[in-house]
């Protein structure tokens, strides 16, 4: 299991090279989130987080996924700072014996990350800092299925 909260980019391919091999995993799922511009006027996102609490929250969520789906391995990497449109923000990876567990665990990690990890995003537009991104009701609702 590996948790990282970092400003630097990550290399998804390198993160999952040989991933889960020790646990005889047959299935690896990854999710990566990318800065998207829906308005055509955004140049970046500024991500703020709560050092200390972030690592604790991510560790707890990852440990729950490891136990609940008997994962062979699990990675959660989340960036902060200024991230340009098109840049990867974060990734999760799960390794399990079968595909169903790997998919479910990755979706669980994402749903919890969205609403329970202390990150906040602000849009940086062509004219400078803009609005803080509001939490979505649908993200909170997504937790109910677990």
């Amino acid at each position: 299991m590996r948790i990282s909260v970092q400003e630097a980019p990550f290399d998804l391919g390198a993160e999952i090279a040989g991933f889960g091999a020790a646990g005889n995993a047959g299935a690896v799922v990854t999710f990566s989130g990318i800065v998207r511009d829906d308005t055509g006027r955004m140049v970046a996102l500024e991500l703020e987080h709560y050092p200390g609490m972030t690592e604790k929250a991510l560790t707890r969520i990852a440990e729950e996924a490891m136990a609940r789906w008997s994962l062979a391995d699990c990675v959660v990497i989340h960036r902060y700072g200024r991230l340009a449109v098109g840049e990867p923000i974060m990734m999760v990876a799960t390794a399990a014996r079968h595909r169903k567990a790997a998919f479910e665990a990755a979706e669980f990690l994402m749903d919890y990350l969205k609403s329970r990890a202390p990150f906040w995003k602000r849009e940086i537009g062509v004219d400078g800092p803009g609005d803080w991104v509001d939490a979505k009701d649908t993200d909170e609702a997504a937790l109910n299925r677990w």
Partner: protein, 82 residues
């Protein structure tokens, strides 16, 4: 004495990322009331508590929670990770 930290638009409205607060507040709600009475910038930041979350010593908590023994109180908007 408790360390109070603010994030995102709460930090912006209050104007500081963290501060040490001398308080005898029994609960988070009491602390919010104390701060809001102190200066308009706090009252503005805490005007809509439905949009504010609280963590005590880096664990998500709620406004009814007691402050006894707590070293760090954090106020922030609903989280938007991922």
């Amino acid at each position: 004495m408790v360390e109070v930290v603010y994030f995102a638009w709460l930090r912006e409205r209050i104007g500081v990322p963290r501060e040490r607060v001398e308080t005898g507040a029994a609960t988070v709600s009491d602390l919010v009331a104390e701060l809001s009475a102190r200066e308009p910038r706090y009252a503005a930041a805490f005007a809509d508590l439905a949009a504010v979350r609280v963590a005590l010593d880096q664990e998500l908590s709620d406004f009814d929670a007691p402050l006894a023994g707590v070293r760090e109180v954090a106020f922030f908007p609903p989280m938007t990770g991922g």
